[in-house]
Symmetry: D2
Subunit: 136 residues, 4 copies
Amino acid sequence: MSFTWSTRIYYQHTDAGGVVFHGAYLNFMEAGRTEMMRSLGFDVADMVRREGLVFVVHRLNLVYRSPARLGDVVEVSTVCRGISGARLQLEQVVRRDDQELVTAEITLVCVNAADFRPTAVPGVIKAAFSNVAVGT
Amino acid sequence: MSFTWSTRIYYQHTDAGGVVFHGAYLNFMEAGRTEMMRSLGFDVADMVRREGLVFVVHRLNLVYRSPARLGDVVEVSTVCRGISGARLQLEQVVRRDDQELVTAEITLVCVNAADFRPTAVPGVIKAAFSNVAVGT
Amino acid sequence: MSFTWSTRIYYQHTDAGGVVFHGAYLNFMEAGRTEMMRSLGFDVADMVRREGLVFVVHRLNLVYRSPARLGDVVEVSTVCRGISGARLQLEQVVRRDDQELVTAEITLVCVNAADFRPTAVPGVIKAAFSNVAVGT
Amino acid sequence: MSFTWSTRIYYQHTDAGGVVFHGAYLNFMEAGRTEMMRSLGFDVADMVRREGLVFVVHRLNLVYRSPARLGDVVEVSTVCRGISGARLQLEQVVRRDDQELVTAEITLVCVNAADFRPTAVPGVIKAAFSNVAVGT
C-alpha cells in the first residue's frame, strides 16, 4: 500500500535557481507522513498532547533526480518498510506525473516528547501499519 | 466574492512557542492568492514565463488575533478590494472554523520580472477581477 | 539607539522571481529582535523556560521598497518606540548599504507561554528599554 | 581543513516539538557551504550571474543524533572529500560545543543554470579545493 499527498509548487518553495529549493522537499515529505498517519487513524497532534509521543527523523537518505518548478503539482507517496522497537522505516517518493523527482529512505524514532528518549512504537500503530506495509 | 484555500498545520509551520510561527501565515496567504488567481484563469508560473510579469508584495498590514496550532485546519479567504494602474489591493483572512486568526490588507504591484519596474495590471486580469471584486 | 544585526542572502531566502521571498524578511526581523533583546541582557529562550513569557507578534505593518538579491548582505536595525502594559512597539528597517529595502512597524505582546494571555512587560525589561528608546 | 559557520537558534528554526525542525539544518548547511566557497574566493551569486553555474544537491545522507534548542549556538563545519567531473563530495557536521548534532554526506553536482545539465567543476574551483581537501 502507498499513501499519497499532493501540493502545488508556489513561490515560497522555489529559489533563485528557478526551481524548488532542496530543503522544501522535506516539508512536502513531512506533510505526506502526517497525512499517511491520519489515514491510518493517528493524529500527530493528538499523539503529542495525549500520549506525549513524537516521531522524530533519525536518518534521511535523499536522492534528488530532477527538479520541480513553479506551478508544478507534485505528489508524495509514502510506504512503510518496517517497524522494530522504537524505529519506523519509510520510503517516500516525490513525483510530478510519473516522473520521480526525489526519493528518500527515512528512519523515524518514536520518542517521549518530554526528554526525547526512544520508546517502543505503540502496538496499535504497529498493528495498523502491519496491515499496509506490503511494499508499493 | 471570496476565494478560499485551506491547509492543515504541520510541525513545519509551528515553533517552540507551541503555535504557528508568525511568518508561516505569509506562506498560507501566498498559496491563497495563487489559487485565487488560478480560479480566475491566471497561472502565476505562466505569467512569468510567457509575459514576464510578477505580482510582488508592496505593503502588508497584518493583525494576529489568535494562534493556530499543530493539527488545526486553517482556511485562507482572499477578496480583491481594487485594481488601479499597477496595484492590486487584497484582503485576506486566515480562519479556523469561524474564528478569525489573522487578518491582512495587502498591496501587490505588477512588475516586469526582468527589472522589477511597475507595469499596469493586464486588462484581462483587471476584467476578471472586476467581475468578482464586490466584497465578501 | 538602534541595534543592528546582519546576514548574507543565501538561496534558501530567495524565490524563483530571482529576489528574496517576501516572507524571509520576517525571519531576518525576528533574528534582529532576538539579538536586540540579548544586547539588553534578555535571552528569549531563558524567558520562556524560567519565566514562562513569550513576546508574540500582534501587528505587523510592512512596506517592501526594493528587493534584496542572492549574495547581498542585509542589515536589520531595530528601535523601540514605546512600551505600555503588555505591548512593545518597535520599528525595524532592513537595509543593503544605505538603501532601505523593507521598513516595518511591529507591535509585540508579552504573553504567558502556557495560555497566551497578555501579561505586563516585566519591569526589568521596561527599564532596560527606557534607557535606549530615544529614537534612531 | 575544515571551514566553520555558526548561527544562533531562533524561533523560526524550531517547531512545536520544542526543538529545531529537522529541515532547518539543511538551511544551516547551505549557508555553511556558501561561506566555505566564499572563503576559497568563490561567490555563488557571481557564479550564476557571470558563468551560469549552480551547484545543486544530488545526494544527501543525514543522521540526526541530538536536537538543538531555542537559544543554542550551533556551528556547521564543512569538509571537501573529493571532486570528480561534475561532482563535489562534502561532509558537514552541525555541532553545539563539541557535541555532534547532525552529520551529513552530500554530493553536489555542478550544472548549467539554464538547463540544469551537469558540467565539469571549473578548474579554478577544483584547484582551490585540492589545497584544502585533506580531511578534518
